[in-house]
Amino acid sequence: MARVVVDVMPKQEILDPQGQAVASALPRLGFEGISEVRQGKRFELEVAADVDDETLSRIAETMLANPVIEDWTVRREEA
């Protein structure tokens, strides 16, 4: 068993209204110094030992992320 983390973030050129909403709310709440916020998704998968990296990246690419609008990274975490 391994823990795999897939991070999916909106591409830089894609508008991210959720991140923007957070960024513009921060100063109102008295938090200064945050110039940009982007919001994406984090997936944590419990994966059998025999699942290889290639399979994981196919899962990320075809299912967890939409390559038209999102970038992703896959990494195995230490147990």
Binding site: E13, L15, P17, Q18, M63, N66, V68
Partner: protein, 229 residues
């Protein structure tokens, strides 16, 4: 009121599909026979055209339409579009068609971050596609929108290409409800047979239950195409 034309139009149901009953009603009202298509079947039952209706397929928890694209019925649908089958994706159906690669681009969270249900003015931009011949060029129609993730995005080249080849089907007028690029409400594929749009023409087929009957034209257009084909 309904004129039987003999045409059969399939309406897909995924788990979580909501507007399938409405799409079926619209098909019937336009004079065709609605045929229920189940997501788990590798079978389009020989229909002449297909509507992929709105809703929250599989809860839309991952990304709208992301899981539905893998259904057996979608595999068949993708193959059939290659043979020229007309397909209309409405709302969640539009999202499914984009996720499946049948239409370019993607639909993202509304700019206002809220789900929006309202009666929306649209301008008919393309009136030659299978689904839009009944509209006058530039005609303005009133049709409901209801979605949380309807902001159409694509890269600039794709947007330019859509514009220059006349594949923008409808555009929002009188206010853009979701921040969609270039006010795009719906698009078609290159052949004009596969169309997707966020507004709900099936909820504008009878002024009793919708704001107008302006949406009926989409179904009638497809019937015209099927009957003359």
């Amino acid at each position: 009121m309904t004129v039987a034309t003999g045409a059969r139009i399939g309406v897909v149901t995924f788990p979580g599909t909501l507007d399938d009953v409405d799409a079926q009603r619209a098909v019937r009202r336009a004079g065709a026979e609605p045929v229920a298509l189940w997501h788990g079947d590798h079978d389009l039952q020989g229909v002449d055209a297909v509507v992929v209706p709105g809703g929250f397929s599989y809860g839309d928890y991952l990304r709208c339409g992301a899981i539905a694209k893998y259904s057996p019925v979608m595999t068949e649908l993708v193959l059939a579009t290659g043979r020229g089958l007309p397909v209309l994706g409405i709302c969640n159906g539009f999202q499914v068609l984009c996720e499946s690669g049948l239409l370019p681009g993607a639909l993202t969270r509304n700019a206002g971050l809220h789900y929006v249900c309202r009666d929306q003015w649209l301008r008919a931009e393309n009136t030659t596609s299978t689904w839009s011949t009944r509209y006058e060029p530039g005609a303005e129609v009133l049709i409901p929108v209801k979605h949380g993730e309807g902001s159409y995005v694509a890269d600039e080249d794709t947007l330019d290409e859509l514009e220059s080849s006349g594949r923008v089907l409808f555009r929002y007028v009188g206010g853009n409800p979701n921040g969609s690029r270039r006010d795009i409400a719906g698009i078609t594929d290159t052949a004009g047979r596969v169309a997707g749009l966020m507004p709900h023409p099936e909820h504008a087929v009878d002024p009793l239950t919708g704001p107008t009957d302006d949406g009926l034209g989409m179904f009638l257009s497809a019937l015209d195409a099927l009957v003359t084909a």
